[in-house]
């Protein structure tokens, strides 16, 4: 059996770990990737920019995983698939045939399609090469502008701030984290950023980038204003890399559609990670969750099913964890005002300790939670949400004492 895995991040790694002990005879695994550095962690890119981690510390997997004689790594980009003859076509014209295929091609930064986007000094934070370029450029810059108010943008801004004094974040909506956070927690995050010297501006719409051969000089706003800068980091989300399945029977929507076995519409072709569109564990339908833990799990499930097991993915869930200048922040499920319509919402803001907690409950089940400033027992809320456990006293989630009681009350040891 020849297993071909496209991509080389966490979904590939967890699939590899699952497959290797089960291979027999002359079974082989071929990894096709466009990355030069395999198994580095994208989550740690901000730490790399800030200089907290060196290049050799960026890897999340031991190198000996690839030293197995049954694993081949081919550097190249996959252009297309032929699901009938079971082959993949590379950009250099080579063809590789497979018995089972796992697509973990990930996602790429969304482009803004604006004049000047290709100027030197305009970056995206998605891969190691980008992070290296940002770090080198920032060392000789005096001012940086970050576009977008998502988690990646904010993490990038905090990382660059440790190198440059003057860092601005321009957000097109009226709050940070507008895709995941409610007003109060967005404000909580904003306050921390501003008190640490990051300039955050809202309702700013970009029209173009201006500069010359040496690099970007100005950002032109839609209202005609200009902001001068030495560098720009664009953080406008990601799009799945699914061009390779064009003209195949593999079905796509926002990403590559998969069933709970992580199998695509074509037999023996699986997808996992940021490229896969999966069902949510609640009633939110299918979508892209683009999360590290999910990718790890999906890779393992796809690999187990390739080997003939019957493993099912129980659904994705929107969640995220970030640390803003030493203060922890975790958001689970749906907490935005527009998503919590029809839910009972419980909130508590401890202004003295700067701790904010919020839970949203629908039909007696948790659908969203925010743990800002104190993340004790966030994991318990996560599993309550995943499992759809009935919540009798939601207000207990709002205090440490209440969470403590909830947890010890249900322990059956």
């Amino acid at each position: 059996m020849v297993v071909v895995i496209i991509g080389s991040s966490i979904a590939c790694k967890s699939a590899l770990e699952t497959l290797l002990p089960e291979l027999s005879g002359d079974d082989r695994i071929i990894i096709v990737t466009k990355d030069i550095h395999l198994f580095y962690s994208r989550v740690m890119l901000p730490n790399y920019i800030a200089g907290e981690l060196g290049l050799e510390e960026m890897y999340f997997a031991p190198k000996d995983l690839l030293e197995d004689t049954r694993v081949n790594v081919i550097n190249g980009e996959v252009k297309s698939l032929d699901t009938l003859s079971r082959e993949i076509m590379l950009d250099d014209g080579n063809r590789i045939s497979y018995d089972k295929l796992l697509i973990t091609s990930g996602a790429s930064p969304a482009r803004m399609n604006m004049p000047g986007e290709d100027l030197n000094g305009v970056f995206c934070l998605r891969n190691l090469e980008g992070a290296q370029a940002i770090r080198n450029w920032a060392k000789k810059s005096g001012k940086c502008v970050v576009l977008g108010g998502g988690l990646v943008s904010l993490k990038a801004a905090m990382a660059v701030k440790s190198l440059i004094e003057d860092v601005s974040v321009l957000v097109s909506s009226s709050k940070v984290l507008s895709k995941i956070a409610d007003k109060t927690s967005a404000r909580w995050v904003y306050d921390i950023l501003v008190s640490n010297g990051i300039d955050v501006r809202f309702n700013v719409n970009i029209a173009a980038f201006e500069g010359d051969g040496s690099g970007v000089k100005n950002i032109v706003l839609k209202d005609g204003g200009r902001i001068d800068t030495d560098m720009v980091i664009i953080g406008k989300g990601v799009r799945p890399n699914m061009g390779l399945v064009d003209n195949t029977p593999i079905r796509t929507d926002k990403g590559i559609l998969v069933n709970p076995h992580m199998q695509t519409a074509v037999e023996d072709v699986y997808a996992a990670g940021d490229v896969a569109q999966v069902y949510g564990c609640g009633d939110e339908g299918s979508g892209l969750f683009t999360l590290w833990p999910d990718a790890a799990l999906q890779g393992r499930i796809a690999a187990a099913n390739m080997l003939g097991a019957d493993k099912r993915y129980t659904g994705g869930m929107g969640m995220n964890s970030a640390v803003f200048y030493g203060v922890p922040f975790i958001i689970l499920g749906n907490v935005r005002e527009r998503d919590t319509k029809g839910c009972e919402v419980y909130e508590r803001f401890d202004h003295g300790r700067k701790v904010f907690r919020k839970v949203a409950v629908k039909d007696g089940r948790l659908t969203g939670a925010v743990f800002a400033g104190d993340i004790n027992y966030a994991g318990m809320a996560y599993w309550d949400m995943r499992s759809g456990r009935k919540v009798e006293t939601p207000e207990k989630y709002l205090t440490s004492k209440g969470l403590n009681e909830l947890f010890s009350g249900r322990e059956k040891f």
Partner: protein, 160 residues
């Protein structure tokens, strides 16, 4: 495949004396500070106490969630350990731990590693409230206890 180590907490034996927490924080951090111990002492509302700690899950969610490769299963005994040198303190492990067994301090996460096999908390507990053992032994013990409980009380609410 190594045997699965499980944590056996006997809630009816814990008196809430905190000795385990002190031994833990002294071994791991060099100070007697229950707040940064790997064990959390839970007050079960008049029904006694019990030491809450990492249960060494078979499919550990923290292992999947860790984006830096800091969390792994230890080669020698299969225990889930967190390498603080590789940890970036992102709290993803805390977000998915059902037992609140992972902590955050000084930009790093931390969890129990059985003191690399020294098991300081077990050694110091005067009442034998914490135990480590193989899954087989643990299950056999639980079945035996449950049988004893059922025959004594004629079926209890805690039975499963």
């Amino acid at each position: 495949m190594h045997k699965q180590i499980v944590i056996d907490i006997k809630k009816d034996r814990c008196t809430g004396c905190s000795l385990c927490q002190l031994a833990c924080s002294f071994e791991k951090e060099g100070k007697f500070a229950p707040g940064i111990s790997r064990i959390e002492l839970l007050d079960r509302d008049q029904k006694g106490f019990y030491p809450n700690m990492c249960r060494n899950c078979i499919e550990a969610p923290c292992l999947d969630a860790c984006p830096s490769g800091a969390i792994s299963k230890r080669q020698k005994d299969g225990y889930v350990v967190l390498d603080r040198d590789r940890c970036i303190g992102c709290n993803m492990c805390i977000m998915v731990c059902p037992f609140n067994a992972i902590g955050y301090d000084k930009n790093r996460n931390y969890k129990c590693d059985t003191c690399d096999g020294l098991e300081k908390c077990i050694k110091i507990c005067p009442f034998g409230a914490i135990g480590f053992g193989s899954a087989e032994r643990f299950n056999a013990d639980r079945r035996r206890n449950l049988a004893a409980q059922l025959t004594q009380k004629g079926g209890g609410k805690d039975g499963w």
